[in-house]
Amino acid sequence: MSFSLNKSYKILLLLVIFIVIIGFWNPNALLDGLQRGSLYSLIALPLALVLGILGVLNLAHGEFLTVGLYFIFMLNTRFNLDPLVAIIPTVIFLLILGAIIYWLTIKRVVKEGHLSQLLLTFGISLILIETINIFWTSMARNVYTSYSYASMEIGSFRFGTYELLYILIAVLVLVGLQLFLKKTRLGQATFAVGQNPKGAKIVGINVNYVYLFVFSVAVAILGIVAGTMLPRTAIFPEVGSPFTLKSFALAAMAGMGNLNGILFAGVTLGIGEAVINSIPNYGGWSDIVFFGVLIIVIISRSYRGAR
């Protein structure tokens, strides 16, 4: 599977025009959409990384997010740790958890077909959900922080400031990942393995080690997402599950392995959703629009590809 860092300026330009129009028409929907979109992209990035480099379809992706959320919840209730501070231990915890799960299970399906991968990761997702159920029951839980509902006013336009953090973190994670892939030796190895695992072996790269590393880091990135999400999200054992499907959708829309594209796709779909949500009584349509846009993009791309 190819893995590209190409910049798609045309798409970027279209997106900017789109954003400006929405911004004049309904600034609240724009901001809401940007925030959702950043969150979707943040969650989809690690999934796309695993898909692009290991070629593994990870159905347990959303559940790793859930595990991160509950781990932070635990740190918060037991040790009174602020969710944003708790990101650090959570990232370390998920890094280790990801590595263990890779060594015990994922490693064995990397070279197998997608069906084995889907069955395995579906099993893992069930185990994670049920484990959380045992410890915390299915009751919804919340974490309250003083800053999560802070807001700002510009003229007559009032908006929440906390969620701007999603946008900042999405950009930081994306830029960090790109720099890592371009500038470090391990990053170049990752990039090389994503393009051609056999070629990587014969230049002396330990491909299994790169797989282990990428999978663990992908799971660990979800720790960052969990810490930023928790102050604004009620959690329950299935809270992460819908994100798996949305992440797949984003990765498919961006084109397999296109990291920048994920941010574009996430923001486009996020704004689309937010616009629908802002129309009274039509909120239920947002998922339909989300997947409708996805289908249109994929169809138009396949036509372009066929020509």
Partner: protein
């Protein structure tokens, strides 16, 4: 330098290489000739650790390498030019070359000299250093694959059918380059179907048929050999 003793290699239940023994001496160029399906690629993949279903001994510089993983074997000074090239298509020519040295500690210190050496042998790679590898022609990609292998400062260079898919003039050209590389303190193991061209490069050769070595001799005698002339040279 490379010593193989009683090697058996299988794909699942099908045995491909039977009790094979061979050796390559310091600075020697050795050929393995044989028809399609004789086991040339299998033998190479077994040496380089891409196939693990194998018994017997493979020693590189007196050290057992059977059972090691590919990346470990490469780090010991073996380089491979695979039949399908196995380049990184969305990296530039220069990035591909640099990756050839980046993961071998010894070669990392020699990256500039090696790059110059490769550009000297294949000037086209210097001209195209900013081009994406995937957009080059088959012949240029083959040169890049050879160049990438040379970047690792190898002691043993293994080439798996480098002539496949190249037009005859490019084959002649490539084998001339191999003769230049030979002068540089590198041993060569060349698997080829194109025996006529191969014989111009090698010092000594083995004929591999049905997974067994049928014949071993120096290049001069192989050229005169009746079986070789009939089956491979069409004389």
């Amino acid at each position: 330098m490379l010593e193989i003793n009683n090697l058996n290699v299988s794909y699942g239940k099908i045995q491909v290489i039977w009790n094979l023994s061979m050796e390559i001496k310091e600075n020697e160029a050795v050929g393995i000739f044989g028809p399609n399906g004789a086991g040339k690629s299998t033998l190479i993949n077994a040496i380089i650790g891409l196939i693990n279903n194998k018994e017997g001994s493979i020693k590189f510089n007196e050290e057992e390498i059977n059972g090691l993983e590919t990346h470990q074997i490469i780090k010991k000074g073996v380089a491979l030019v695979p039949q399908k090239r196995e380049l990184f298509p969305i990296m530039t020519v220069k990035e591909n070359l640099k990756l050839g040295a980046a993961y071998i500690p010894k070669a990392r210190d020699e990256i500039e000299q090696n790059l110059e050496f490769v550009y000297n042998i294949f000037p086209i790679l210097k001209e195209r250093e900013k081009q994406l590898a995937g957009t080059m022609s088959g012949g240029q990609q083959r040169m890049l694959a050879v160049g990438r292998a040379l970047m690792s400062s190898p002691k043993l260079l293994i080439l798996d059918e480098p002539s496949v898919g190249l037009q005859p003039s490019l084959v002649t050209d490539l084998f001339k380059k191999l003769n230049e590389i030979k002068k540089e303190d590198v041993s060569i193991l060349l698997a080829e179907q194109n025996v006529k061209q191969g014989l111009k490069v090698i010092d000594r050769g083995y004929v591999l048929e049905n997974g067994k070595i049928e014949l071993e001799d120096d290049a001069e005698n192989l050229t005169k050999n009746e079986h070789i002339q009939k089956s491979y040279l069409g004389i």
